[in-house]
């Protein structure tokens, strides 16, 4: 009786030993690890890597996926103990923390031997900005770019006899349409919920306000009249009968509500569109996208704006294979590398002029989504809001937003948000 477990234990112990020794195959190749967080983009990333290794058979790149929240726990711990993966994605929320601390390799000179001003010639200022540290140096090769669009349900517009949104639409048109759709169909209109990038940030910049002072990117602007008015307008939308309240959104995300036919409009990031087409095959052709509605009477500017973010490929400053990695990154940022990424449908390439390679995957559907909207909107984009201290005040400020939605005095809360964000400015 007792011998069986012992034999089993021995066998398992052997397996363990074997699994310990299994790694580090000596085939003379350079093995690189490439860490990402989105499983939907794995095949796209593998395609880019395959294109590189086809030209460089002495290099092998393994794409590894971790889920979003563990990704950052792990990357930070790895940064501390100098065990980072060879290549990894960087997000705008995080890049300044890593770059300003000297963790990331400076890639400003990456293309010096190829073409002077390579970045400026092939990438927008926003893309470069999203990949730069506070010191203005470039710490990542821009990967993709995105913006926010208005998603609308065509059937509900038809039922209410309202014409589809176009580039001339304003906030007022959106509110009117919402009311008409609600009256005619009983479905919700524009679903405005508590969110930054997909919510009030867009309204603030459309109205000519700002979250961070565009000149210095240091001081917050929550109490600026244009900012405050836009936030008040946006929060106030939930008072309309055609918009659900925040309690509703705590249980049902706007996307879920939209695709289960409960509402007619919501803001969505371009990065989610392909996924939505794939996941709701029965709804293809019943919805489309339009530019974000403009502010009808902006305090400054022409009323159009959409927040644009983008990821970049980065590597550790103290990486072991830095020279090989730099060569791989150079390829990732090349026209070819960016085109493969776009055609895989992973995301809109950051490389200027290659935007419509992303259209490839949309052509596979019976209905062609108006993705041109995304490309056109890059003209009115605002760079994703970020600075070195935002990481620290981000969640406290969003707590205050929750209080606003719970009915606290908006002006007082905005003053508080301003104080929270600015308290980190003066302390240094």
């Amino acid at each position: 009786m007792k011998k069986i477990p012992r034999i089993a234990a021995l066998a398992l112990a052997l397996t363990l030993l074997l699994s310990l020794c299994g790694c580090g195959a000596a085939d003379g190749k350079t093995h690189l690890k490439f860490q990402i967080w989105d499983i939907n983009q794995r095949s796209g990333m593998e395609a880019v890597c395959a294109a590189y290794t086809a030209q460089h058979p002495d290099v092998e790149i393994e794409v590894q996926v971790t889920s979003w929240s563990e990704y950052w726990t792990k990357l930070e711990a790895a940064g501390e103990s100098n065990t980072m993966p060879d290549i990894f994605w960087m997000h705008t929320d995080q890049i300044l923390y890593y770059a300003d601390f000297g963790i990331l390799a400076d890639l400003t000179d990456l293309y010096d031997g190829v073409e002077p001003d390579y970045y400026a010639n092939h990438y927008s200022d926003i893309s470069i900005g999203n990949a730069s540290g506070t010191d203005g140096r470039i710490y990542g090769v821009p990967k993709d770019k995105d913006n926010v669009v208005l998603v609308y349900n065509k059937e509900m517009f038809d039922a209410a006899g309202v014409s589809y949104p176009d580039e001339n639409w304003t906030w007022d048109d959106m509110a009117d349409a919402s009311q008409k759709i609600y009256d005619a169909t009983g479905k919700y209109g524009y679903m405005a919920y508590n969110d930054e990038q997909l919510g009030y940030w867009n309204f603030v910049y459309q109205n000519g306000g700002y979250i961070l002072d565009p000149e210095t990117n240091i001081h917050a602007g929550y109490t600026q009249p244009a900012t405050a008015d836009a936030i008040k307008y946006y929060v106030g939308l939930q008072k309309n009968s055609w918009c659900p309240d925040q309690a509703f959104f705590a249980e049902t995300s706007p996307g879920t509500a939209f695709f289960s036919g409960m509402g007619s409009m919501f803001f969505e990031g371009s990065w989610n569109l392909l996924d939505a087409m794939r996941r709701y095959p029965d709804l293809v052709g019943k919805w489309d996208i339009a530019p974000l509605p403009k502010c009808p009477n902006p305090a400054a500017g022409d009323g159009a704006a959409t927040i644009s973010n983008g990821l970049c490929y980065a590597t550790a400053a103290k990486g072991k294979n830095l020279e090989v990695v730099k060569d791989v990154l150079r390829f990732f940022g090349s026209e070819e590398g960016q085109r493969i990424q776009g055609e895989s449908g992973a995301a809109i390439p950051a490389y200027l002029g290659l935007e419509d390679s992303w259209t490839t995957q949309f052509k596979n559907f019976a209905y062609m989504l108006d993705v041109q909207v995304c490309y056109d909107q890059f003209d009115t984009c605002v760079q994703y809001i970020n600075n070195a201290t935002r990481r620290k005040w981000k969640s406290t400020v969003s707590d205050e937003m929750v209080r606003i939605y719970n009915g606290s005095d908006i002006d007082q809360s905005l003053v508080k948000m301003q104080q929270i964000a600015d308290s980190y400015v003066t302390s240094d």
Binding site: S69, Q246, A250, K392, M401
Partner: protein, 296 residues
């Protein structure tokens, strides 16, 4: 200190004891105690980034004690313990006893009560969210109410407590079942000849005999209730209007240490949490003398 010299037998016993606890103690010191010591230190520091710290004395604690949200979270955590532990233990003991009784389909029932433990957390969350949904939820349809179970500040804690109790019954029942099965049957046989009813039997035999196991389950449950985080995080999102009514201490810790990167402040919250657990545990260990029966 009374006996400086141990008898040879006692010395041998002591050496064996050290040998037997050594692997555990070494493991705990390296894996857990040392990181905890570091946490104690960092609670007096400001985190500059990537594991670099600057000593700032009591700053984090002062900031913490002045923060209304922190006190709210402390109260939420205590409330969560009060709501989950007694009810959860009672139900788990009841389930364990019933599963230990002479019933049909014992194996089937035991397996069913075990299932929640291995269900994917995503599935569990999804199901409960459907049950609790304020507009279309099964619960509201059943009772004809319109309660925002996870969005109304008055109900959100109760809803989370229900999910917690539900997910822990299986674990606790298994441990208690083991305790119940260690009770010699002869005790019951002798007792039933005396003509004692089931309720009397419970208080004279079952409870005293299972009390050592019940005690360990209770300690574990209290400790994990004070440390609650995952469940609340999954049920209640950051933009939920009721978030402040359910935010626990570890939820605050997670947000400061992992989201905001303020590990010093986060460590201070951990120290406070551990002190709270320590206090509860000491009370339990003093109190156990009144009800836990060791056959020594």
């Amino acid at each position: 200190m009374k006996k400086n010299k141990l008898s040879p037998a006692a010395r041998r016993e002591q050496n064996w004891a050290y040998l037997m606890v050594a692997p555990t103690i070494i493991g705990l010191v390296v894996l857990n105690l040392w990181p905890f010591v570091q946490t104690v230190y960092t609670s007096f520091c400001e985190h500059l980034g990537f594991g670099h710290y600057r000593f700032t004395g009591l700053d984090n604690y002062i900031q913490m004690f002045q923060n209304a949200e922190f006190w709210r979270a402390t109260w939420n955590t205590i409330l969560f313990c009060i709501l989950t532990v007694p009810v959860g233990l009672f139900l788990a003991l009841l389930v364990a006893m019933l599963l230990n009784a002479k019933i049909r389909f014992k194996g089937g029932f035991r397996t069913i009560f075990f299932l929640p433990m291995v269900c994917a957390p995503a599935a569990v969350t999804m199901v409960w969210r459907f049950i609790f949904n304020g507009e279309y939820g099964i619960l509201n349809q059943l009772f004809g109410t319109r309660i925002g179970w996870i969005t109304d500040p008055n109900f959100v804690m109760i809803s989370c407590a229900i999910v917690a109790i539900w997910s822990n019954i299986g674990y606790d029942a298994i441990l208690l079942l083991a305790g119940l099965q260690n009770i010699p049957k002869t005790l019951y046989e002798a007792n039933s000849i005396d003509g004692a009813g089931p309720i009397k039997q419970f208080f004279t035999i079952t409870l005293p005999m299972v009390s050592p196991t019940l005690f360990v389950v209770m300690i574990m449950r209290l400790m994990s209730a004070v440390k609650v985080y995952d469940l609340i995080y999954m049920m209640v999102e950051e933009t939920n209007p009721a978030v402040t009514s359910v935010q626990s201490l570890m939820y605050l810790f997670y947000r400061s240490s992992f989201v905001a990167g303020d590990r010093g402040y986060g460590s201070a919250i951990v120290i406070w949490t551990v002190l709270l657990i320590g206090l509860i545990t000491v009370i339990q260990f003093v109190g156990q003398k009144k009800w836990v029966n060791y056959d020594v």
